[in-house]
């Protein structure tokens, strides 16, 4: 089965600024793919290239088996898009915008639209100029979720939604997934990606730094271990794969590369483990590590 999205070596420059610098992204059909990165990493630019609004300077981009620029109109009737910053026409009501966008996509499910209005608790009679940011976001989300399409491109869709609405959104995405549709979800809210995504791609400075299932990515990361033993814990800090160790006689706290976890645990066992807590790395930490590298590099330069 062909991938819903395949991007290889995508480069996009604006004048002297390089927004995308050899980005790779593969999204299989039917998966919910998290597209993670700090602000300014190039997530929105990448989505705009996928929509054919921006032309790539270099690289290969395929969307639903077509060329995003050449086949824009045909492809767009098979996808729905929610921009990160939703602006609407001030004099037109939310209900009208939802219907209009649905019709422009080539049809939508009216029953589903009404049901979504109910679930997201949106008043469709208000003119868009009176909507708050969260309500504008809901208008775009309802229009996208009511559309009968194969692919959803969602650019930070929950920014501005309150926690209750966020959970409604998560339910909706689970339903979409059950229907076998594909979702590309850009976000910097990690809990959201952890709750929803089958696979994630992490991007920084316009380049993909990591991609895979959450499980696969965890292999590349460290587990935090706090341990108390009967015998003194001398020499633990010297083991391969152990970092940031704080050792006090029978107590120790350290991070260990997940690949070396087994060896370290074997070394601990003969010492008589009294208590042991190990925390799997959260996406937060994955993310901080990639973002943190840059900060560390920045700190190193002046000294």
């Amino acid at each position: 089965m062909e991938n819903a999205i395949s991007v290889a070596g995508l480069t996009k420059r604006f004048g002297r600024v390089t927004a995308l610098d050899g980005l790779d992204l593969t999204v299989a059909q039917g998966e919910v793919h998290g597209f993670l990165g700090p602000n300014g990493a190039g997530k929105t630019t990448a989505i705009r290239v996928l929509l054919g609004l921006l032309r790539p300077d270099a690289g290969e981009v395929r969307l639903l088996g077509g060329d995003p620029v050449r086949d824009a109109v045909a492809l767009h009737s098979r996808l729905a898009y929610v921009p990160g910053d939703v602006t609407l026409w001030p004099g037109i009501t939310g209900g009208e915008v939802i219907d209009l966008l649905g019709r422009l996509r080539g049809g939508f499910d009216r029953r589903r639209r009404d049901e979504l209005l109910e679930r997201f608790d949106l008043d469709p009679r208000k003119k868009a100029r009176t909507y708050s940011k969260g309500n504008r976001q809901k208008v775009a989300l309802i229009a996208a979720l009511a559309a009968d399409v194969e692919l959803l491109l969602l650019d930070e869709p929950t920014s501005g939604l309150d926690p209750l609405m966020e959970s409604v959104f998560q339910q909706c995405i689970h339903e979409v997934k059950r229907q076998g549709r594909t979702v590309l979800l850009s976000s910097h809210i990690l809990a959201e990606a952890e709750a929803l995504c089958d696979r994630v791609s992490i991007i920084r400075l316009g380049r993909t730094v990591e991609s895979g299932t959450l499980g696969e990515l965890r292999h590349l990361t460290r587990t935090s271990v706090t341990v108390e033993t009967a015998d003194p814990l001398a020499g633990i800090e010297a083991l391969p794969g152990v970092h940031d160790a704080v050792v006090e006689d029978h107590h120790a706290r350290f991070d260990v590369d997940t690949a070396q976890l087994d060896a370290v645990v074997r070394r601990l066992a003969p010492l008589g483990v009294r208590s042991l807590t190990s925390t799997p790395p959260t996406l937060e930490e994955l993310f901080l590590r990639h973002y943190g590298d840059e900060q560390a590099a920045a700190e190193r330069v002046p000294s």
């Binding site: 705009r48 824009a72 045909a74 767009h76 602006t87 009501t93 422009l104 469709p124």
Partner: protein, 525 residues
């Protein structure tokens, strides 16, 4: 009022690039007019001849001002230019006040400011102070331009103050409108309507017995008669009106909530009507309000000009000896007048076409085009949807002007045939108007960031050629580049098809080239 001074300083900073252009424009108009007039009519005999010819030319009076101004050379300058400079400073004042009051509230930026130690009345007070400063600068610059080119000092001072007085009156009017209407677009529409009415009222008054001119702020300023009597008291009318309008605005401001107008918003449709189904329907829905406003405005303007047409005939019936001097007699003079007014309406129709076409750029930069283009709507369809409004809309606007003028003129001369005749006459300018629209599409396709600036430069250039080519002594090649100058001056001249065809072909080429540019560029930047 707390924080007014700080806000004023901030506003001055935000206007530091835009405001100088308005001031420069107003100053240059006076400077060039004064120099040219003094060159053209440097002897009392020349001035006497001018008085004689203009005295019978109602068209020129309707466009300019009261004939008493023609008694001296300084007055002649005021006669020619004060009406136009008034429009420039009124628009400047309208945008200054509107941008810093209602527009700020509408976007929510004012909310951020008001949450700081800033009083309820401070934004309005600061915006009005800004407009007062700008109009004071206008007064000083006009005085300097007039006195600097050798006109009497006292008259020049009055000339400057009379110009500034129009500006401050319209600043106060905008302040009031900003309390009434909920969005800036409606504020500008209402103030522009009053400005148009002010111009037409003084035209009707100056052609007639002068009574109607006293209903117009532009009329008050012209009737200070700088250099030809120096009457100061009409300035008090402007000041009094300003005080009244500002008081009304402050009272209304005290009675309304932040962000609200006088009329509360009504709930709208919960679902779209079946008609709102594609990009074309959206474009027409977005632009219909503005199109209706322009059509009504131009229709009324046409009616106003048309109703004056008859008094020209009357004048010649009363003074047959003047008519003998004119080749072609009475009929030609009326036709010349009609041609002049239709030419003016074509410029306004082009201005409408430009605003309608620039909607594309506004949709693009605001991010509203993005969700539309992310649907099965291609760039071509999107472009065509808004273009259909500007092409059909500008035709409609021309047509309503022609029908309005034909109706009013036809009624006064009892000739229903004037309606189809003048409607057809107005449409002769359609290719020229479309060429301007096409030029906007061209820059939108290839130089989107510059599109608004370049579009208005083109319109401004055509307006200067049409209105001031004679009095500024512009060289022939400068005039010939304007599509309006290339259009035969119907109904005075015979309508040839060849020039219209050429203009149409150039327009088609611009449209195709603009579309090609749009296809290959990035959107949203």
């Amino acid at each position: 009022m707390t924080g007014t001074l700080g806000l004023l300083r901030f506003m001055l900073r935000r206007e530091r690039f835009g405001l100088p252009w308005w001031l420069l424009g107003a100053t240059l108009l006076v400077l060039i007019q004064s120099t040219q007039s003094q060159n053209l009519y440097d002897t009392p005999e020349d001035l006497e001849k001018l008085r004689h010819s203009i005295g019978g030319n109602t068209a020129v009076i309707a466009m300019s001002g009261p004939t008493r101004l023609l008694d001296t050379i300084g007055g002649e300058v005021v006669f020619e230019i004060l009406g136009f400079v008034s429009i420039v400073v009124a628009l400047m004042s309208m945008f200054l006040v509107g941008r810093h009051t209602r527009a700020e509230e509408e976007t929510g930026r004012a909310e951020l400011l008001r949450s700081a130690r800033v009083g309820r009345r401070a934004p309005l007070a600061a915006a009005l102070s800004l407009a007062a400063l700008a109009n004071l600068a206008v007064a000083v610059l006009v005085f300097a331009a007039a006195a600097g080119t050798g006109l009497p000092v006292a008259g020049s001072l009055l000339f400057g103050l009379a110009t500034g007085a129009v500006g401050i009156t319209f600043a106060a009017l905008t302040a009031l409108a900003a309390q009434v209407f909920e969005n800036a677009r409606a504020v500008y529409g209402a103030v522009a309507l009053v400005l148009g009415a002010a111009y037409v009222l003084r035209a009707a008054g100056d052609v007639g017995d002068g009574g109607l001119s006293w209903a117009s702020p532009i009329g008050w300023s012209q009737r200070t008669f700088p250099y030809t009597g120096d009457r100061w008291w009409p300035l008090l009318l402007a000041l009094g009106t300003t005080a009244l309008l500002v008081t009304a605005a402050v009272v209304l401001l005290g009675h309304r909530d932040f962000g609200a107008g006088l009329v509360p918003p009504r709930p709208g449709r919960p679902a779209a009507s079946p008609a709102l189904r594609n990009a074309y329907a959206l474009a027409w829905r977005l632009q219909r309000g503005s199109l209706i406003g322009w059509a009504i405005g131009l229709g009324l303007l046409g009616a106003a000009y048309g109703s004056i047409g008859d008094t020209i005939e009357q004048y010649f019936r009363d003074n047959p000896e003047v008519a003998e001097f004119l080749p072609g007699g009475t009929a030609d003079v009326v036709d010349a007048y009609l041609a002049l007014t239709v030419g003016l309406s074509a410029l306004l129709a082009a201005a409408y076409g430009v605003t309608a076409t620039l909607r594309l750029r506004a949709e693009e930069t605001s991010g509203r085009a993005e969700p539309v283009l992310a649907t099965a709507t291609g760039r071509g369809t999107w472009l065509a949807s808004h273009l259909s409004v500007s092409l059909v809309g500008s035709a409609l606007v021309l047509l309503t002007f022609g029908i309005g003028e034909g109706l009013a003129y036809g009624l006064t001369v009892s000739d229903a045939g004037q309606v189809p005749r003048l409607a057809a006459v107005a449409l002769a300018y359609l290719p020229a108007v479309w060429l301007i629209v096409a030029a906007v599409v061209l820059v939108f396709g290839w130089a989107p960031r510059a599109s608004a600036a370049l579009a208005w430069v083109v319109v401004g250039y055509c307006a200067v050629v049409a209105l001031f080519a004679e009095s500024f002594g512009l060289p022939g090649w400068v005039r010939r580049a304007s599509p309006f100058a290339q259009t035969p001056q119907v109904p005075l001249e015979h309508l040839g098809v060849a020039p219209l065809l050429v203009i149409g072909l150039v327009a088609a080429f611009f449209l195709a080239a603009g579309y090609a540019g749009l296809r290959r560029r990035d959107l949203g930047y």
